[in-house]
Every structure is written in C-alpha cells, then in structure tokens.
Amino acid sequence: MEDYKYLFKVVLVGNAGVGKTCLVRKFTQGIFPPGQSATIGVDFMIKTVKVGNDKIKLQIWDTAGQERFRSITQSYYRSAHAIVLVYDVSCQPSFDCLPEWLGEIESYANRRVLKILVGNKVDKGDEREVPERIGRDFSDVNHFDYFLETSALDATNVDQLFEQVATRLTNDMKITDERVHQYRADATNTTSNSGGPIKLIDRAQTQLNSCCSRQ
C-alpha cells in the first residue's frame, strides 16, 4: 500500500503554453497529449519512482500558467519541496518572464526549496529562440539547483528531469535525517553523561561500528 519512504511535493510553474502539462503526462502516463488545452486551475498527478532501493512518491502539482489562476497557484509554493520552472525554448517571451516567476518563488517558497529550470520543446529545432547557453547562464546566475532542456514530444530528458528531482530531494532528506539522528544521539549522550563509563564505552562502540559499516 503506502510503502514509500518519502513523499515529495513537486510544483510546476511557468508561462501558459510552455508544455508543463505535457511534461507531466509524458512522465506519469507516457503519453504526449496532442492538442492539450490550457490547464484549468491545478492538475494533480502522483507517481512513485525508485531512488536506489527506496520508493519515493512524487506528488506533482501542475499549475495553470494563465494569469487568472495566479492566486490559486501562488498558494502552492510554500509547501513545495521542489519547484520546476518551465519555459519554451522556441518562445522568447516565455523566457523573458522568468525573472517574474523567480520573484514569486523567492517571495512565497521555502528558502531551501529545490529550484529547477527547464527549457522545454527542444524538438522544435530551427524554431529555437533561446540558445541552451543563455538558459544555462540564467540558471547559474539565479542559483537554480539544476538546469535541463527537455522535449515532452520526443521524451528527451523527461524521465531524467523527474529522476533528478527525486534523487536530489531524497539525498537532501537523508542528510537531514542523519543530522537529526545524530543530534538526538548526541542529546541523549550528553544528558546521560552521568551514566558513567558504560555510556562512554557504548558510544565509542557505536562510533566504531558506524565507521566500519561505512567502509
């Protein structure tokens, strides 16, 4: 049933018509819906992926790009673990709007949110208006965690995008978990210092064990 290790919220944002819904459908259902009409409000999908041996559940909120849904979509930023900002490489205006989206992310999202920039529709070859280098530069300058060019039409990098999201979030989460664990362990050790030599030996033992197992 619900035997996943972590559950992450992934929110897709970006101008209307850059292909957010197609990316999500391609990833979750393996189809490219031709003639996809504009999303109304927010679309919702779930997909479980594997990172190493762990099952990771991705909760994907695919928001509408149109202005009139802005106040609904804004409410999703805060609880997101990852925000995927999408633009269309064959549509300069969709790229020009990125600073505006970035502003929204900065003001509503969690500061530690995983930010990913995606240039979609690379299949459009000659119609490309935004060179890859420009996109990459933008992502570097604005401290995105990851940049990727995709195509929902020919499936370029679609799975990779979401796998990256899952992997990075999982790794981050594991580090946090370890820290919490360490902190707890430390806390119990310090408070029970009065427990005397038994505890100290015990602690040395566990440290030794963990060193051994790491190798």
């Binding site: 009409s37 109304i40 409000g41 927010v42 679309d43 919702f44 779930i46 909760q59 009139r68 849904f69 802005r70 106040s71 609904i72 409410s75 999703y76 805060r78 609880s79 003001s107 029970s192 009065s194 427990g195 005397g196 030599p197 038994i198 030996i201 015990d202 033992q205």
Partner: protein, 803 residues
C-alpha cells in the same frame, strides 16, 4: 544375410576341396611318368603320399566341420527366414491393396472438390444475383418513392402541409445516389421521368426551404411559439439543421435577453428582499440561471428528437453568447458596487507585504461577506453547468448505442468503439470549451482567483485579531480563546470554499490556512514557550530583569509562567482539534461525488492540516520538555540522592528489616507524586503524559546511576528488585504501559543482577534479547560485563571471559 557371410567366411578360410583334388591328380600323373624317366623318386613320393594323406584327413575334418556348422545354422535360422519371407510377401500384397484404395480415394476427392467448386460458384452467383435483386428492388422502391414524392410535394406545399412536404424532401434527400445515375440510361421514357422528378424535387426543396425559413422567422417575430416549434422540427428533414437552430435560437435568445433585462433591472433597483442585499448579485445570478435552465428544459424536448444530441451542444453554444453577455453585465455591476477590483488590489498588497497601511485595509467582515457572495455565484454557475452536463452529457450512452443496434456487422466492433471514443472525445472537448473557455467560465475562474485572495486575507486578519484578543477561558480552563478561534476561522473558510463547488479554491484555501498555522499561529505560541518556564531556581535572574523593567517582580513571573503553560496547552489542544478538523472534512467530502482527480487533490491537500497538527504537537512536546527540565528534573536528582547511601551488601536480616522500615523508595515515590500532582491540574492531558514519561525516564536514569556506584551481593540485588517493582508499579499506575517502556533498560539491569550464577545471567541476557520491543534497546555485551561486575560475589575473571 548372416548365413551367407558365415558361409563365405568358412569357404574362404579353407582351401577348396576341389582345388586339392586337382593337385592330387597332378601328383598321380607325375608318378605315372616316373618309370620312364628312371629316376628314383620313391622317397620323395613317400613323403608326398604322406602329405597327401594328411591333407585328405584335414579335408575330411573341415568338410565335417562345415556340415556341422551348416546344420547348426539352418535348424532354426532357416525356419525363421522362411516365415519372415512369407510375412514380407503378405505385407507386400497388402500394400498393393492399400495403394489401390488410395488411388481410388484421390480420384473420389478430386471429384468431390470439383463438385464443391461448382456448387460454391453457383451459390456465389446466386448471392450476386440476390444482392442485385435487392438493389433493384431498393432502386425500384426509391424510384417509386421519388415518383410519389415528386407527385405529392407540390400538393403538400400548396396545401401548406409542410410536415408531409418535409417528409417527402427528407425521403428524396436520403435516396440512394444510384437512383439519379439512372438518368444516363438509354431507355428514354424511364430516365425522363426520373429526371423530371429530380428537377421537381430539387426546386421544391429550394422552395420549401425558403418557405420554412421565412415562416420560422415570421413566427419568431410574432412570438408564435406553436408555429415556431412546428417549423423548427422540419429543418433537420430538409438537411438544414443549422438554419433551423439559428432561427430558433434567435427566439430563445430574445427570451433570455428579456429575462436578463428583468433581472438586471431588479438587481439595480436593489433586489426584492432587503435581507438578502448582501448576496444580491449571487441571488440575481441564481434566479437568472434558474430561468435559463427552465427555458432550455421546456424547449429541448422539441429539438432533442429531431436534431439529435450532438446538434444540441451546438445549440447551447449559440445560447451561451447571450448568457455570457448577461454575466458580463452582472459582473460589471458587481465589481462597481462591491468595489471588488479595488479591494483586491489592497488585499494583494497586504498579503504580499507591499503596503502596511492599516488605515486603508478593508474590514475583514466586509471581505467575509463578499467572499461568501462569490462562492454563491460559483455555486450557481456550477449548478448550471451540471444542468447542461446532465441534460446533454448523460444521454451519451444512449446515443452511442443506438447506431450499434442498426448495424449488425459485429466484425466492426473495434471500429465502432473507436468511433464512439472519438465522438465522446470530441464531445468532451466541446463541453470543456463551453464550461471552461466560455466567458462565464473564464470570468468565474478569475472571480474564484479573487476569492482565494480575499479568503486568505480574511483568515489572516481574523487570526491576527484572535491573537490580539487572546484571553484565558473561564476559570479552570487550560487553554485560551485563540485555539477555538483559529480552528473556527479555518474551518469556516475551508468549508466556504468547499461550498463554492470549486475544488481548486478549496485546495488553495487549505494551503493558505496551513501557511497561517505554520507561521503566524505557530510563532505566537512558540514565542511564549521560548521564554521558558519560571521556577524558583531560575527565579532570581527573571526577577532581576523584571525589576529592571520596573514591574512587580512576583506578578511578572506569575504572568510568564501562566503564559508558558497556556501556550503549551494551546499547542497540544490545537493539534488535537486540527486532526479532528481534518477527519471531519474528509467525512464531509466523502459523501460528495467527484471525479477521481479532484478527490485526490482534496485528499492530499487535507494531509497538510495533519502536518500542521504534528508541528503543534511537537511544539507542545518541546514545551513539556522545557517545563520538565526547569521544574522537575533537578528535584528528581536531589530526591534520588539518599539512594546512594544504602549499603547493598546485605544480609537476610537487613532485608527483613527493610521490609518493615523502607529505606528509600516509599519516601521517594511520595515526593515524586507530589511533584507530578502539583503540575497535573495546569497541564493538558497530553502534555501531562509527556511530563510523566520524561519523569519516568529521569527516574530510571537516576536509579541506574546510583546502581552503577554500588556493590551488590545476592540479598542486595533482591532488595533492588523489590524496589524496582515498586517504582514500576507506581509509574504504570500513573502513566500506563508507555511509562513502563521507559524503565525497560533498568529492568534488564535489575534482572541481570538478580541471578545466582554467571551462566544464569547469560540466560537472562539472551532471553531479554528476544523479548525487547523496538523502543527499548538490549544491553550490549560490554554493558552486561559492567553490570555483572557490580555483583561483588562474582569472580572478575569469569565476567571478563563471557561472550
């Protein structure tokens, strides 16, 4: 064969008898010649004779051998050979018979296949003939119909029997094209009559179409409903349904416009009911949609039969234009009167911290009213869409099935399903177009967007107000007003959003609500917990700061203590209520039928409420720890001090003495109980439980520390066991089984000490490994050694050697 080879073997192995005979003859001949030559060969001859004799014997022996061997081989081998030969011959004969039969069969089959070919040829010829006959009959029927139509049409038109005329035209238009190809035939009279009919009917169609159009237009102008309904039905028959719908919708649009005008007029005048002024626009919209639904309901049956459902959707599109227009006007009025855009701007500014001018900020109550009204408007719109969906969408299945009844070509099942799917898709697309992309649809989405901001603002302001007016509930209450207020506000907002029927707005409201809980409310409680719990031990420093601030020292401390406890209890209670709220919402929504995607959205949004609840619960736990640390922990340590002084090298007499005069535990537990009882009334049950559990852990730790410093003998351990049981019984009594788990480690130590031998200790240890739950860890080997070393009567070497 084997016989032959056997023979040859023997034959070749021995020189042939005949050959010897020849040689003998030659020898005799030579002997006859001897006297003449005068040579003395007598010795030689003797020798030769001897040799001859030997050879003769050898020959005899070999011949005998051959005879024996031959005899041996022929006795049974020959017999077999014969019977085998016979069998082969019989078999051969039979094979000949079979071959003959097979040949006969082949020829018979050839015959049959030839016959079958002929038959099937004939059948297919018959089939062709039959289809031709059917075709001819159809054609003849069509031609006859054509004639009848041609004859009847003029009369019908002349006598204004348009129904009959339309039927004729319909028949004419649905005739097989083949009929008209007959025109090119050679028989002149036949083709003439057909051409004649064709021309008559073509012109009649034109005439009829014109007449119907003008009649319908006329009827529409005269608002003659009966006439309209009569004529509008006829258009599909002459294959011009769009023309009919167009004209008919002119009429319906007029009615809709009239309805719109009336409603707008009433609305502008301020409505009919003063009590409902707050929801005037929502009411107007509701009444208007009711009216439109009624109009559609009463007119649809007329169209349904003759036009088919697919056309109805087109018809709805035509009507939608007028509805859109009304909606636009209503919204303009709404916006102007309720100052929606103005409010929206301010609300956005406040929410995004762009402007913090409190003067300008609107009253949450005003926002509350408008938010409700927008929700009602959305409800009306959703209700109308549902009506349209039900009226046009629900008959989907019938529509898809009816053609399959006519087609008896089952082979095309797949193609039919495919067709059905395509048709369904196209229809869904059209419905989506109508619902989501029409002006009513998009404007409503915009309005819902505004609503979400307004709702967010309302929650924010109300929660801020609740914090400001936070007050302790009536005497004896553990929590303050903020808990109920906050839950009330959030519940109200979420339920209002749910009432609008728009799932996205519900999710957005939940998102915003949990954001408020996690930030504003959480910070408020956290700040009080952060200041810490004042006790006499840290009272001095607190008193000093209070003195500096010029406050009454005692009062300030009391106040802070109270605030701390209140925040602690509030966090626990809030967590409980939020879980309740989430469950309640899920229950409420489980009754509503929704598409799976929307159900999923709601389900996953509500989990956020649970997450917020968990955050409050951990805040409460943090607070309980603080309280425990500053008010209880040190006291436990102090009270456990005398425990170190008991000598654990006891005698039986000591134990009996302690039986009557308890050295420590009774007193200790009484003191602990006092500590707990002092705090119990001030704590929310969950917080109290947390404190008790912390106490249990601390007691266990203190006892463990004390034990580690003692040396036990068997009686000392026995006494310890008795004390452990006493403590255990007390804590279980106060806090239940979970407290006992905290004592798990101590329990292991105690039972390790209570053994007779080291072997028994190992048994106890291994047994405890299998018994321990996940919460208590088994003692490690070094720990076990350490514990056993506390027994003074156990040899150190034996302890060291255990594994």
């Amino acid at each position: 064969m084997p016989d032959n080879s056997l023979h040859s073997k023997y034959l070749s192995g021995v020189p042939a008898g005949r050959k010897n005979g020849v040689r003998n003859a030659a020898v005799e001949k030579r002997t006859e010649e001897l006297p003449e030559k005068q040579f003395d060969f007598s010795r030689k001859i003797r020798e030769l004779r001897l040799e001859l004799e030997i050879k003769k014997r050898e020959e005899e022996r070999i011949e005998k051998d051959i005879a024996i061997i031959l005899e041996e081989n022929t006795i049974d081998g020959g017999e077999q050979n014969r019977s085998f030969g016979l069998a082969v011959t019989r078999f051969n004969n039979q094979m000949l018979v079979v071959e003959n039969s097979a040949k006969q069969l082949t020829s018979a089959l050839k015959n049959i296949s030839a016959l079958a070919d002929t038959i099937s040829g004939r059948v297919s010829a018959l089939d062709v003939a039959k289809t031709r006959v059917v075709g001819c009959l159809q054609l003849a029927g069509d031609m006859r119909d054509l004639g009848v139509c041609a004859e009847g049409i003029d009369d019908a038109i002349r006598s204004e029997d348009f129904e009959t005329a339309s039927q004729h035209i319909h028949r004419f238009l649905t005739l097989d094209q083949a009929v008209f190809q007959i025109r090119d035939f050679k028989q002149k009279d036949a083709t003439d009559s057909i051409r004649h009919s064709y021309e008559i009917l073509s012109s009649a169609k034109e005439r009829l179409s014109k007449i119907l159009k003008s009649r319908l237009t006329e009827a529409v102008q005269n608002k003659n409903v009966a006439e309209m309904q009569r004529f509008v039905k006829l258009f599909p028959l002459i294959h011009e349904p769009d023309e009919g719908l167009q004209r008919y919708s002119v009429y319906l649009n007029q009615i809709i416009d009239k309805l719109a005008e009336e409603n707008l007029a009433i609305m502008k005048a301020g409505g009919t009911d003063d009590n409902r002024r707050n929801v005037l626009y929502a009411d107007t919209l509701f009444i208007f949609f009711e009216g439109v639904a009624e109009i559609i309901e009463s007119n649809l049956p007329v169209l349904e039969h003759t036009y088919g459902l697919e056309k109805l959707l087109d018809f709805m599109f035509i009507l939608q234009a007028r509805i859109d227009d009304f909606f636009k006007r209503l919204l303009e009025e709404f916006d102007a009167r309720r100052r929606l855009s103005h409010l929206n701007r301010i609300v956005d500014d406040v929410l995004h911290n762009r402007k913090l001018n409190e003067e300008e900020a609107p009253d949450p109550l005003e926002i509350d009213v408008i938010a409700s009204e927008i929700c009602m408007m959305n409800t009306s719109v959703e209700m109308y869409w549902r009506f349209v969906g039900r009226r046009i969408g629900s008959k989907d299945v019938d529509m898809a099935r009816s053609p399959s009844g006519d087609d008896d070509e089952e082979i095309d099942e797949e193609a039919r399903l495919e067709r059905q799917r395509l048709r369904k898709e196209a229809k869904e697309q059209k419905m989506d177009q109508l619902l989501n992309r029409s002006r009513v649809g998009t404007k409503m989405q915009e309005l819902i967007g505004s609503y979400c901001s307004l709702e967010h603002f309302y929650m924010l302001k109300s929660v801020q107000k609740a914090i400001k007016s936070d007050a302790k509930e009536d005497v004896g209450g553990l929590t303050s007003s903020i808990v109920d207020d906050v839950v009330f506000i959030i519940r109200k907002s979420i339920r209002r959003a749910a009432g609008s029927g728009n799932v996205d707005s519900v999710c957005a409201t939940i998102n915003n609500a949990t954001a408020l809980l996690d930030t504003v409310v959480h910070n408020y409680l956290h700040q009080h917990i952060q200041t810490g719990y004042v006790t006499s031990s840290n009272f001095a420093s607190e008193a000093f700061t209070a003195y500096q601030q010029g406050k009454q020292v005692k009062e300030a401390a009391e106040c802070q203590k109270e605030q701390f406890l209140q925040a602690l209890n509030n966090a626990a209670k809030l967590s409980e209520l939020l879980i309740e709220l989430q469950k309640g919402l899920i229950m409420e929504w489980s009754k509503v039928k929704r598409p799976p995607v929307e159900k999923n959205k709601l389900e996953h949004s509500t989990t956020q409420i649970e997450e917020s609840a968990k955050k409050f619960s951990s805040l409460a736990r943090h607070g309980a720890e603080e309280l425990f640390k500053s008010a209880i922990k040190n006291k436990i340590r102090q009270k456990a001090d005398p425990y170190h002084d008991i000598d654990r090298q006891m005698t039986m007499d000591d134990i009996e003495h302690y039986e009557a005069h308890d050295p420590f535990v009774d007193q200790f537990l009484v003191q602990i109980n006092c500590l707990l009882v002092e705090h119990e009334p001030a704590l929310f049950p969950e917080n109290y439980e947390a404190v008790v559990l912390l106490t249990a852990s601390e007691i266990a730790r203190q006892i463990e520390v004390a034990i580690a410093k003692c040396q036990f003998n068997r009686y000392g351990a026995l006494q310890l066991d008795k004390e452990y049981r006493q403590i255990c019984a007390y804590l279980t009594n106060v806090a239940g089984w979970s407290a006992r788990e905290k004592l798990g480690r101590l329990g292991q130590i105690v039972s390790l000490l209570n053994v007779e031998t080291i072997d028994e200790a190992m048994e106890v240890w291994h047994h405890s490994k299998t018994m321990t739950t996940s919460t208590t860890r088994t003692l490690t080997l070094p720990e076990v050694r350490k514990v056993l070393a506390l027994r003074a009567d156990f040899p150190t070497i034996a302890i060291k050697s255990i594994e």
